[in-house]
């Protein structure tokens, strides 16, 4: 009884995931990454909260990946202009974020 219900649910899930995106595994990745993030950040030295923020800033400029696609693919011009502006904004964050983080971290001496 229960087994057949599970089987039906599994069949249903397979049917749903035939689309291009496997939403459940994306959600799964998101939840796991959040827990890892919480665990790792909790242990960050309190001295370094300012550089931490500029470092995570640079890392979240991973939006560069989306911007690259929108700018470089064979899309209409207007779409690519939006992409180019986004790419510029992300790149600025990557460059200034990593550089200033390193500049600050260099100053923390015993």
């Amino acid at each position: 009884m229960i087994a057949s219900a599970v089987q039906a649910a599994a069949a249903q899930a397979t049917a749903n995931s035939t689309g291009s995106t496997d939403y459940w595994s994306m959600l799964f990745v998101f939840v796991l990454a959040t827990f890892i993030g919480l665990g790792v950040i909790r242990r960050v030295s309190r001295l370094l909260y300012t550089p931490l923020m500029s470092l995570t800033n640079a890392i979240s400029a991973i939006a560069v990946v989306g911007s690259l696609v929108v700018t470089g693919a064979d899309y209409p011009r207007v779409i690519r202009i939006l992409g180019a502006v986004a790419l510029f904004a992300s790149m600025t964050n990557i460059v200034s974020g990593f550089l200033i983080t390193d500049r600050m971290l260099k100053m923390f001496k015993k």
Binding site: T50, S54, A73, M91, I94
Partner: protein
């Protein structure tokens, strides 16, 4: 096939490197390794995306990347006192990128007939645009306030019904987004989507208008979290796991920092965002007899310091404004040379962003081992000979312990009042940010030094270098 494998592998490698980068931030000794890991992860991600066959136009990419370097390098060289506004500005850029990519993807989907716009994908794009654009304008407002741009009011701006208006705008944006999600290809969908974008931009402005300087550490942390979440939404929309993991790391970092900042002010998120802290509350004046300040001369202060064995310096935003950190270093040197132990007591919300004081003091070459957290220093305060309060105010106000009618009630403070003697350097005789009198300044054992922190410390250091003039 091979390109898909490259993409997947790059996502795994980059995610691992980002986690390592954050992990190495747990100690100043390993932290710089973290930057290298972060750069490596980003390089892997960018290259693996760039080689994909989907990407056929390279000119604009090169141009945009070059422009990013042209603007990014100078932004990384700002003076460290300007780090809060640089951080807020980079949150704005992050939000802008997410909002624009979300908008582009939606209209791309519409242009292709809407087949790509499933309900889930449209929901993700809507979330990306709302989070991205509200982070964009909200962070720009925060940047303006921190930079003290003239046409942006520094003091919180409040009006009757403000929370009603703010929440109303957000609710309408979300409702429109839900309608678009339900009918992504309806004839009105593109207008509705643009309206969602516009309302989100408006909401960002409205959200920050009532926020004042002392709340900036919390607000910057919350915006940091939103910038990360908008990248997560982009990941859902583009079916890209790397965006989801990196965004989630950023989002959880912002979340933890906001929680720490809120706890350090004894307030809730909701209270920070909708409580309009910093309005001068008239009823909050201290009752009882009005005591007055006792002013001390620089010579007297130098003598007090010289006779001490343990000195604790409590820096606040006033030190940052006066750029006094290098003078602090000179005083630190003068005192330690005489065998006096000097420690720095750092309140979590001192300054305008998390960790602000630590970075400024590190810039002045003060060893990080001398920087002590509030919870560690407080048990030691009764043994402290001189507590030197340097442009800090609300974080040392004893009223936080009992004055229920004040906005700072319940906020943990550094127990400066328990030191044998308190020396307070203060720019003016005005009350602090919260608009409440600080009774620490009128205590029997407190002596005031009025003036710009840098100038006062300069005078103090001169007393010591005159050296033999003192006993």
């Amino acid at each position: 096939m091979i390109f898909s494998a490259i993409g997947q592998l790059a996502a795994i490698v980059a995610t691992s490197l980002f986690i390592l980068a954050l992990n190495w931030m747990n100690d100043p000794k390993t932290a710089r390794r973290g930057v290298i890991a972060g750069v490596a992860g980003m390089l892997v991600a960018v290259l693996a995306t760039w080689v994909q066959p989907l990407i056929v136009h390279h000119g604009w990419i090169v141009l945009a990347i070059a422009a990013g370097f042209v603007v990014g390098v100078p932004l990384s060289l700002v003076p460290l006192t300007a780090v809060p506004q640089r951080t807020a500005l980079s949150h704005a850029f992050g939000g802008l990128a997410a909002g624009l990519v979300g908008t582009a993807e939606f209209f791309l989907g519409l242009g292709e007939g809407g087949g790509q716009l499933t309900h889930f994908r449209t929901a993700a794009l809507t979330a990306e645009v709302i989070l991205g654009f509200l982070t964009f304008t909200g962070s720009l407002m925060a940047t303006g306030k921190l930079q003290e741009v003239k046409w942006i009011p520094q003091r919180p701006v409040t009006y009757p019904g403000q929370n009603f208006v703010n929440i109303g705008v957000l609710v309408i944006a979300i409702a429109l987004g839900a309608m678009v999600t339900a009918n992504p290809t309806a004839p009105w969908a593109s207008q509705a989507f643009l309206a969602v974008a516009a309302l989100s931009l408006l909401f960002g402005v409205l959200l920050i208008i009532p926020i004042g300087g002392a709340d900036m550490p919390t607000v910057i942390s919350i915006l940091n979290s939103y910038a990360g979440l908008s990248a997560v939404a982009m990941g859902f929309a583009l079916n890209n796991k790397l965006l989801v993991t990196a965004g989630a790391l950023d989002g959880s970092s912002g979340l933890i920092l906001s929680i720490i900042m809120c706890r350090a002010m004894n307030r809730s998120f909701v209270n920070v965002l909708f409580g309009a802290f910093g309005q001068v509350k008239v009823g909050a004046q201290a009752t009882g007899e009005q005591k007055s300040w006792k002013q001390e001369t620089v010579e007297g202060a130098a003598q007090l310091l010289e006779q001490a064995r343990l000195v604790v310096i409590i820096p606040g935003y006033g030190m940052a404004v006066a750029q006094a950190q290098h003078k602090v270093r000179e005083l630190y040197d003068a005192l330690t040379k005489r065998g006096i132990t000097v420690k720095f007591a750092i309140h979590p919300v001192a300054g305008r962003m998390p960790g602000h004081m630590n970075v400024l003091l590190a810039e002045a070459d003060i060893p990080y081992t001398a920087l002590v957290e509030m919870d560690e220093i407080n048990p030691e305060m009764p043994q402290v000979d001189v507590a030197l309060v340097l442009g800090a105010n609300d974080v040392v106000n004893p009223a936080a312990r009992y004055a229920k009618q004040t906005p700072i009630y319940g906020m943990p403070i550094i127990d400066a009042d328990k030191a044998h003697t308190v020396l307070a350097v203060k720019r003016s005789k005005n009350p602090g940010f919260a608009g409440i009198d600080n009774e620490l300044y009128v205590q029997d054992n407190t002596w005031m030094l009025f003036g710009d922190a840098k100038a006062v410390l300069g005078e103090l250091v001169k007393q010591f270098s005159a050296g033999s003039g003192l006993h």
